[in-house]
Subunit: 181 residues, 2 copies
Amino acid sequence: MRNISRLGYALLGLLHQKPQSGYDLRKIFANTPMGTFSDSPGAIYPALQRLEEQGLVRSQVQESSSLRRRRVFRPTASGKHAFKAWQTKPVTSGDVIHCLDELMLRFSFMDQTAGPVAAVQFLNGLTRELRSYIPVLRGFLRTNGREMPLSGRLALASGVRSYEALLRWAGAALRKYGKKS
Amino acid sequence: MRNISRLGYALLGLLHQKPQSGYDLRKIFANTPMGTFSDSPGAIYPALQRLEEQGLVRSQVQESSSLRRRRVFRPTASGKHAFKAWQTKPVTSGDVIHCLDELMLRFSFMDQTAGPVAAVQFLNGLTRELRSYIPVLRGFLRTNGREMPLSGRLALASGVRSYEALLRWAGAALRKYGKKS
DNA sequence: CTAGACATGTAACGCGTTACATGATTAT
DNA sequence: ATAATCATGTAACGCGTTACATGTCTAG
């Protein structure tokens, strides 16, 4: 089984919310903060085809009075399973270093598909990895800062700050889940 | 003229610091916070070849006593020019939304190559775009938050927070440059 | 009647990923 | 010896980008 791209997971997540057409999904990427993904047809339609070939979504052309065809996609049982498996993977150090945006994508659909318990687990994992990685960055800055130009130091400091902001966010998010349960 | 990939710019920037071999560059990606880039030979050697074909770097095999060949790259005048042009491009809203990491890459080499004036211009541009984009995100959250699941709202809020952290960082960075000049 | 939104596709291209391949030098 | 590190490459593959192509429906 081929593996699913980030765009594939984004589409799968949106289709969990409600069955939609490729055009609907494009509009979401064009008009919302999900716009970090490309809304180009050359990305979305092939991605939907791949998901269908892998049996993760199925589509049917809407039969309506109009001649304008509309192919609506919905996740299959196997698609739901694959999505949940992806979301509930443990958070690794590599995720934090290389794919923060994928982590946030995983989290953003968490409630609807994997449930609040998984969300809390995710936030705990994220907290753990951030607490272990931030000191590494700080250490690097401390030992190599001298020989780095100002802009380089500042760029690295910006990374540290953004990780710290994320850590604070994870704490706040955990408290929200705590209050609810 | 083909355009240069993000990896290409990263390599070009590192070669501005000092002439190095592909292997040296791989080690940097493997062992420093520049590790967001791949250290795989299948990425780096072809990227260096492309830069050379485009006349942006030139290489020469180090003649030494050993038989172990080492191809050392250094930027050409045209490479330096292209790099500076990339760094001093105005910061656009699209950069902030889609390519924040590219922006930080641009900034991290700013001092050595484009100078502190360009750095200040960059930080001013970044501040302007963040001040215009953060309210858009906040607005979206306010009008659509109701119908979003908790995890979706939180993920979006995390984005807002990280943009705000970046805005504060830009302010602090500007003050550092102010003190120096 | 025509511009613009709706709606879905395909094809060429570039580049990063993964895996493979080769050989020199140093440390154990 | 032999494992690890130094050092440089190549080839298949997948996917996103860009550009092109086609056709329907609605509003002015």
